[in-house]
């Protein structure tokens, strides 16, 4: 995944004829399976030997948002905090009507902004 991120940034930089990329701003949804720490780790390795070397990586995390097709509720994903489970587990149950909601936001991995030197 991080390799794809780096490739996409390099492609954009090439289109702009940039000499160097100085900053990359990512938005990563909390409902993706991407670990911020691991993305950073892989990023720093992958940018070596590219014009992205030394660039600043900003990662903005985005909360999960659900929408209920039954009652129209739209809001943050809820957690079921039953002590029997040891941990709060996120649920797609609509907090308003109890039916199944759909994920609206939180599944993205977007390159929001790239700063570069021409």
């Amino acid at each position: 995944m991080t390799a794809q991120i780096v490739d996409s940034v390099l492609e954009e930089a090439k289109k702009q004829d940039a000499k160097r990329v100085t900053e990359v701003h990512l938005v990563i949804g909390k409902l993706t399976f991407l670990g911020i720490e691991q993305v950073r780790f892989a990023y720093n390795i992958l940018v070596n030997d590219t014009i992205m070397k030394g660039s600043k990586l900003i990662i903005e995390e985005k909360d999960g948002v659900i929408e209920c097709p039954s009652c129209g509720y739209k809001g943050a994903i809820q957690c079921e905090d039953d002590p029997a489970y040891h941990v709060p587990i996120p649920t797609l149950r609509c907090p308003k009507c109890g039916k199944a909601a759909k994920i609206l936001e939180g599944k993205e991995c977007t390159i929001k902004r790239i700063k570069m030197l021409k």
Binding site: A18, T32, F33, I89, A100, C109, M116
Partner: protein
């Protein structure tokens, strides 16, 4: 490209662009394309995910046995390097395409599209895709199937469901397999079922023993086949 801001400082020109590229969107779009293509050919596709050793292949064998007289079936089998599972499924007289991913831990919509080129969609009604054994990465990559099944077995312990809520959120049907071993493993299948429904209230659940075929009818019903 939404905004381009150019700033000139001395000789240096800083350019700021907002590409807005969603890295996961590429796969999602390819998945949509797969889905459309299959619908055009009246093919129903099913993605089967689950950990290594959950019983995906055994379950598919039983599904194929139960459904091969009703549907013309093809199976895609994601596997790192071997064709062992493909040979197992192939014994039942259906077309099997192995997708060797090499090092990759999941299938994606692109490799599925490539595999589709190797079969004739006119000649099948049902396509079962067995994902690579892994309960995490495949969930991130929709393949363009009508239904997604996640298989967990009681031998994986009592916490598989609550540890992987986001995987279950992407599925339509959950199979709780190896029900015959529940008592020995001291795992309550009913509890797993409750947790799955907690995470996704509209989830359909089938409790099975893929070796004997117990619960396969429930699964077929859940898959609306």
């Amino acid at each position: 490209m939404a905004n381009n801001k150019e700033v000139v400082k001395g000789e240096e020109v800083t350019l700021e662009i907002e590409p807005g590229t969603d890295i996961l969107e590429v796969n999602k779009q390819l998945a949509q394309k797969n889905l459309k293509l299959m619908r055009e050919h009246n093919v129903k596709a099913i993605d089967v995910m689950g950990s290594i050793g959950a019983g995906k292949t055994s379950l598919i064998e039983k599904l194929v046995q139960a459904l091969k007289h009703k549907y013309r079936i093809a199976v895609f089998k994601g596997d790192l390097t071997t064709t062992i599972d493909a040979d197992r499924i192939g014994r039942h007289g259906v077309k099997v395409v192995t997708i060797n991913t090499g090092l990759e831990c999941h299938l994606d919509a692109n490799v599925v599209a490539r595999a589709v080129e190797r079969i004739s969609l006119q000649d099948i009604d049902l396509l079962i895709i067995e994902n690579v054994g892994n309960l995490i990465c495949p969930a991130e990559f929709p393949l363009g199937t009508e239904k997604r099944v996640v298989v967990v077995s009681v031998t994986e312990g009592p916490y598989m469901v609550i540890k992987h809520p986001f995987t279950f959120m992407t599925a339509d049907v959950t199979v709780i397999n190896k029900k015959d071993l529940a008592e020995i493993m001291k795992v309550d299948a009913k509890q797993l079922e409750k947790q799955v429904k907690e995470i996704k209230p509209d989830m359909k659940v089938a409790v099975t023993n893929a070796l004997t075929g117990e619960g396969i009818e429930e699964l077929i019903e859940a898959l609306e086949l």
